[in-house]
Structure formats: C-alpha cells, structure tokens
C-alpha cells in the first residue's frame, strides 16, 4: 500500500487569488465606475444558461465525436470554439439586447456587464469548482483510511502534479491565475461589445465580439504546447481582445458621450423595486425560509447518523443522498416571493403599477428575481452549515458529493424554484381561487418539487454519471419553460387578470 501524501495547501492560493481578483474588479467598478446589480444579475442569467446549454450539448455529443475523430484537436477545436461563440457570446448579446430594449441596461453598463461575465466564469464557476475540489481532496486525504487510500490512488494517476513540491506547485498556481486573468480580459471584451452592439444597434460590434469565443478552439491543443507558451498565447489574445474592443468603440463612446451619462428615463426605479420585492418576499415567507434552511439541516443530522452506522456496517455513505434532496427544501423555502405576488394582486398593487408605467414582464420578473434571491439565501445557508456538519461528523466529503452539489443541487434548485414561481404566477392569474392553501400559490411549491423528484427518478435509471446530465437537462428545460411562459404571458395575458377581485 502506497504512503498517502496530501496535496500542497498552496493550491488553494489559485482559486483564492482568482476570487479576490474577480470580486475586487466588481467592487472597484461598482464604487468607482459603474456596475449595477442589474448588470450582475443579467450577466449571470446569460452566463449560466450558456454553461447549462453547453453541458447539455456536450453530454449528448462529446463522447461520440471524440470517438469518431479519435481525439483529433483540429476537429475538437472548432467543436469547443463554436459552442462558446454561439452560446456564451451569443447569449450574452441576446440578454443585452433584451435588457437594452427594456431600458434596463445602457451604454455605460457595458463595462460592468463584461466585468460581471468575467466574475461568474472565473470568480464563481471555475475558482469555486477548483476550491471545492481541492477542499475535498485535502480533507479526504487528511482523514486517512480506505477512502483516503482510494482517493490518493486515483489522484496520483489522474493529476500527479497535485503532489508536486511547493516550488513547482506555486509555478502551476501562477499559470492558473494567468489563465483566469486572460479569461477575465476576454469576457470583459465580449460583454462590453455585446452591450454596445445592442445599445447602438451596431452589428460590427457584435461581429467583433463573436470571434473571441473561438479562443476555446485552442483548448484541445493545450497538450501540444508547453504550459508557458500556451498560457502566453492565450494572454496575448486576451490583451488583443481588449485593445480591439476599446479601439473599435472609441469613436462611438466619444460621439455619444451624452448617451453614456444620460439620466434614467423618468420611470420606475426597477433596481430599487426588485430589492424591495426581495425584502418583502423574505419578510412574507420567513417561516418558509426557516423551513427551507432548518429542515435540510435536521435531515443532514439524520443522514449523518445513518451514514455513520451504514459505513460501519460496510453500507453506502448516505451523505451522498443529501445533495439530491436539498432542492426540494430550497423550493419550499423560496415560496415567499410567490406569496407576495398573490397578495399584491389581491390588494390592487398591480393595478397601480400598471397605471404608473410598469410592464407586465417587469411584474413577473420582480417575482422571479426575488425567488432567485431567496434560493441563494436558503441554498447558501443550508450548504455551508450542512457541509460543515457532515465534515464535523467525520463523514468523508467525496468528489461525487462536490459534483452533485455543483451540477445537480445548485442548478436544479434555482431552476425548479423559478419554475415554481412562474407556474404559480400564471396559474394564479388564470384562476379565481386566490387565497388559501388550495390556491395556486398554495399548490405551486408541490408543482416546483415535482420536476426535482422526476429528475431524481430519471437520474436513477440513467446509470452512473447520467444524473448530472439529467439534472442539467431538467434545469435547462425549466429555465427555458420559465422564459417561454414569461414571454407568452407578457404578449398574450389580458391586463384585467392583474386586477383585484375586491
């Protein structure tokens, strides 16, 4: 049996530096330049929908393609590059265009939008994933025993560089950070160009933004180069992307400087409105928030105890079940926003909002935004406390649990809560039964839980590894359904449905 060696803690430095860098840029732009909550939210929608779509597409196509082309990078390069062009850059543009047409984003939000895209990619997704993986490796290997031995054997084969000496590890961390800096610059460039393309209806900006997605063309060529050369090429391209973006739009920003500093049109202050919607949803549904946060914790304690007993008897670690069940509680915990929606209509609030120039889509959107806020709160608290409890109980945190949390629990929680919220709103609008447990608002949480359970059943029958694809597919389908329902409701729903019955 080989001696177990732990990974060097210096690896944690990479994600920490990237998170600090990404968050620092957001903070700086928010304080000194312009970066709004809206830019953060919209860029998150664009980015995570694109990532979900890419994951779903690759789940179906990657293995057959890789087998067919025998891993040829000249075939895989365009495969990855074009996905980024059309999904990441394309969606960033579509979201920007929608937001500009609804006066949510303006020209001076272009930089903030780009910085926000970079935050989600680097500071949250990549760095978060890396930090979680390193933490799981570190704590699993620290624990010793059979699990640690298995983990070590797997890692020494798959990623031997994790066990490099500190000097070599530090060098590796340096290149990781450089790669994220390059990614930050490229995301900034295409986000910036997408917003300006939408504001000024300038196709040239879009055509300048799209090709930067092709940088992923280089991904399969990584092994063909030494690390310094490869990262050097990417960094050079990233610098070029920023230069092109700023140089190509310089005339526009100078000529239309007034548009950049123009005050908001005299209308609803949607940023404040959405913040109020979240606060009210939290206040309205605080009991549900507590239920959504505390119940999974109790469940975790139960699971941890059962897991300890089962592990002692050689059975499966039941802790793996926890991430699968959590979305159910999150959906329950986020019903406050829907309750506010039901109450507001009964009180005649929507009648006033419509009269004051707020659109139907903005009413729906404020509820969805508040739901997303509640999901973040419930999920954040539940995950942090639960994972800490599992670790404190001495149960191993496997890579599987980490993957499940990232690719199952989080996307499915957000998607099913948004789905519940939108279904509840539409149903509530179409029926006269408004208050009470029997009302759509009362029944909607069950509707939101149903897809989670359906995904779980489908996942069980899809074999090992299939669960993540099922979760990704189900999440993407629910987000698409939410967008479609919002669009149809905005176009077709009679305004009188927003009036109170009172």
């Amino acid at each position: 049996m080989a001696t177990i060696q732990n990974i060097d803690p210096v690896f944690f430095l990479g994600p920490v530096v990237v998170v600090l860098l990404s968050a620092g840029l957001v903070f700086y732009w928010n304080r000194r330049r312009r970066l709004t909550v809206w830019a953060l939210f919209l860029s998150a929608v664009a980015y995570f929908v694109a990532i979900g779509a890419k994951a779903a597409f690759q789940a179906v196509t990657y293995v057959p393609l890789d087998t067919a082309v025998g891993g040829n990078p000249w075939a895989l390069g365009p495969y990855f590059g074009l996905q980024t062009v059309f999904l990441e850059v394309g969606l960033a543009y579509l979201v920007a265009r929608y937001s500009v047409s609804h006066s949510i984003l303006r020209a001076n939000d272009a930089e903030g939008y780009g910085i926000s895209l970079a935050l989600w990619e680097n500071g949250v997704f990549v760095a978060g994933l890396a930090a979680l993986e390193y933490a799981i490796y570190f704590f699993t290997l620290s624990g010793g025993g059979t699990v640690a031995q298995q983990e070590y054997t797997a890692l020494i084969k798959a990623a031997p560089s994790l066990f490099d000496k500190p000097t070599a590890a530090l060098q590796l961390v340096g290149y990781q950070v450089l790669e994220r800096v390059s990614s930050t610059l490229i995301h900034f460039s295409w986000g910036y160009l997408c917003v300006l393309a939408a504001v000024f209806k300038n196709r040239r900006y879009l055509l300048l933004a799209l090709p930067w997605g092709l940088v992923d063309f280089l991904a399969p060529f990584g092994p063909s180069f030494s690390l310094p050369v490869f990262e050097g090429i990417i960094f050079t391209l990233a610098l070029a992307s920023v230069a092109v973006a700023l140089a190509s739009t310089r005339g526009e920003t100078r000529a239309k400087s007034t548009d950049f500093s123009a005050p908001q049109p005299d209308g609803a202050n949607l940023r404040l409105l959405f913040a109020v919607a979240f606060r009210r949803a939290l206040n309205f549904g605080k009991v549900y928030v507590v239920i959504g946060t505390v119940l999974p914790l109790l469940f975790t304690v139960e699971v941890a105890e059962a897991g300890r007993a089962a592990a002692g008897a050689g059975g499966p670690a039941l802790v793996d079940i926890y991430p699968l069940i959590l979305p159910v509680f999150v959906v329950l915990g986020s019903t406050g926003a829907l309750m506010v929606f039901g109450s507001d209509r009964d009180k005649g609030v929507f009648e006033y909002m419509l009269a004051y120039g707020v659109d139907v889509s903005q009413i729906f959107l404020s509820t969805v935004v508040a739901t997303v806020g509640l999901v973040t709160l419930v999920l954040g608290v539940a995950l942090v406390v639960s994972v800490a409890s599992i670790a404190a109980a001495g149960l191993p945190l496997s890579v599987t649990v980490g993957e499940l949390i990232l690719f199952y629990t989080i996307p499915l929680s957000y998607a099913s809560a948004m789905f519940m919220s939108m279904i509840g709103m539409i149903w509530s609008q179409l029926t006269a039964r408004r208050p009470g447990v029997n009302s759509p608002v009362g029944i909607a949480p069950i509707v939101g839980i149903a897809p989670v359970l359906a995904a779980l059943i489908l996942a069980e029958s899809s074999g090992p590894g299939g669960i993540l694809y099922v979760a990704g597919g189900a999440s993407a389908a629910m987000v698409c359904a939410v967008v479609l329902m919002a669009w149809v409701a905005n176009k077709k729903m009679q305004r009188e449905r927003f009036l109170s019955n009172a």
């Binding site: 209308g267 609803a268 009210r280 206040n283 009180k347 609030v349 009648e351 006033y352 909002m353 707020v358």
Partner: protein
C-alpha cells in the same frame, strides 16, 4: 401645429375578458380643470378610468394621452391614478408604502417627505397600514397622487369613506392641482360633483350620456323646498314633504320670483333649499 390634447378618446370600446362595458365613447379634454365622471353603478366609470390609465386595452377606437397611445409606457408615465382600492402592499408601514410608490414612479425620498408633510401624515408615517382607520387609509392612498407631478390625474372616488373635514381638504388639494392639470374625478356624490367640477363626463349604460359644462345642464324641472316659520294658505301650491313645501320650477333663475310671490302672500320663510340636483337627471 397645435399641441395634442391631454386626453383624446375616439370611438372607444372597452371592458373585461372580451365583454364590452364601454362602447362608442368619444370625447376630447383639451383644457385643464376638474372633469367629474358621473354615472349610476355599473355604468362604466371605473372602466373608463382604467382604459384611460392604460390598464385595460381598448377593443377598438383610440385613446391618447398628450398624443401618445395610452398603452405606451410613456403615456402611462404622464398619468397619476387612484382607484377604490388602497393598493398599499401588505405588511408595509405608511412611509414604506409611499416610498414603494415613489420608487415605482421614479421618485425619491424627498418626494415621500414632502407628501407626508403636505397631507399631515407625520403621526401615521411609522404605523403599519393595517393599523389605520378606513379614513386614514384613504388619506394615505390619496397622498400617492402628490408624489410626482403628472399632467393628467384620474381619481376614482377619492373622497369615499372620508370624514367631511378630510374630504374637504382633499377636494381643495385637487382643486389646486386642476389649475394647470387635467383631473378626471369620479364621484357618486352629486353635490360634491357640483362643488368641485365645472365640467361633467356622464356615462350611462356604457355610452357617453353627456360631455359638457355642469352649468349648461338643463333639466325639465328644478325643485326647491320652502320651510316656513308658520303655516300659510299660500303654501298650498306646494307639495308637503317633512318640514318643507316643494315647488317645481323651470330653472334656478325662477327661485327669486317664487320667494317674492310667497312673501307677498304673507308667507314668512325660514329657509329655502335646493331639493333636487340637476345632475340627478343624468342618473334617471
């Protein structure tokens, strides 16, 4: 080119879920002032105001606010509106409710402070809306229209449930507004209508029954009640109703002649009062 009228309504049909409540309504409001919207229950007053506010889409015809179709956001942003519902979100304090609407209308904290002072709401500001009496709730609801300056105000029974003192204050504020703004004011109270408005938009059975000046309304009879100090045979020409003897005249201009005739016949008069509002004709 002449500026567009504040309100233009052309052959409008409107209602709920495809069922027409208003049909063939046309009028144009081109001057500032208070326009009293009158009509019996179910006549379509609220539907008219909701259609003007852009809440209901007309089935046919044209509604424009300052030349912009009422459905457009830009048109709705030029309107202020209150309905019979208070519309303060559940669980909010008074000042939070006003702040909420200030945000919706693109206003700020200074607007909230100004309105709280204007309508003397300081003592209520920190209370939850549910803790208020009906009259206080109405005051807060009405306060909303003073948050932002608009060019058209649509007020659906703003003084219902208010005590006479507060109702009078609200009417005075509305009258101040109407010096350079268009105010459409629906009311069931015919005497209030005459007190506040100079023009009337009467709706009956979903149709426009009258659009014009209140003082131009001509009725077939004008009834006054005479309350004498003591009985007199000369009062026999009138119908007795309680302490009053009712006389049907052709118009208010005939009142001095009636008084002269009665006093010359030896009737000592304690009081003469209008027993029928000419606007009641519109409700028949």
């Amino acid at each position: 080119m002449a500026p567009a009228p504040p309100i233009l309504v052309q052959d409008v049909a409107s209602g709920y879920y495809g069922k027409k409540v208003l049909d063939g309504i046309s009028f144009e409001v081109s001057e500032p002032g208070v326009y009293v919207v009158l009509g019996p229950n179910g006549a379509g007053k609220t539907t008219l105001l909701r259609t003007l506010a852009g809440i209901l889409r007309p089935y046919s015809g044209r509604v424009e606010i300052n030349g912009i179709p009422s459905q457009e956001k830009e048109a709705r942003m030029q309107i202020d509106y209150i309905t019979h519902l208070d519309g303060i979100p559940e669980g909010m304090k008074v000042e939070d409710g006003l702040r909420f609407y200030a945000d919706v209308e693109g206003g700020g904290e200074e607007d909230v402070r100004r309105v709280i002072k204007l309508l003397d709401l300081e003592e209520l500001a920190k209370l939850r809306f549910t803790q208020l009496s009906q009259g206080q709730k109405k005051r807060v609801s009405v306060a909303r229209i003073f948050l932002r300056e608009k060019s058209v105000y649509l007020l659906d029974e703003p003084t219902s449930n208010l005590d006479p003192k507060v109702a009078k204050e609200i009417r005075e504020l509305v009258l101040q507004l109407s010096k350079d703004k268009v105010v459409l004011y629906s009311s069931h109270n015919l005497f209030e209508a005459r007190e506040i408005g100079s023009r009337v938009i009467a709706v009956k059975g979903g149709k426009l029954a009258l659009f014009g000046r209140i003082d131009e309304i001509r009725t077939e009879t004008y009834t006054v009640g005479v309350r004498p100090l003591e009985l007199s045979p000369a009062l026999g020409q009138g119908r007795k109703e309680g302490d009053y003897y009712l006389f049907d005249l052709r118009s208010p201009e005939d009142v001095p002649g009636l008084i002269a005739s009665l006093t010359s016949s030896g009737v000592r008069i304690r009081e003469v009062r209008e027993m029928q509002n000419p606007l009641e004709e519109l409700f028949k």
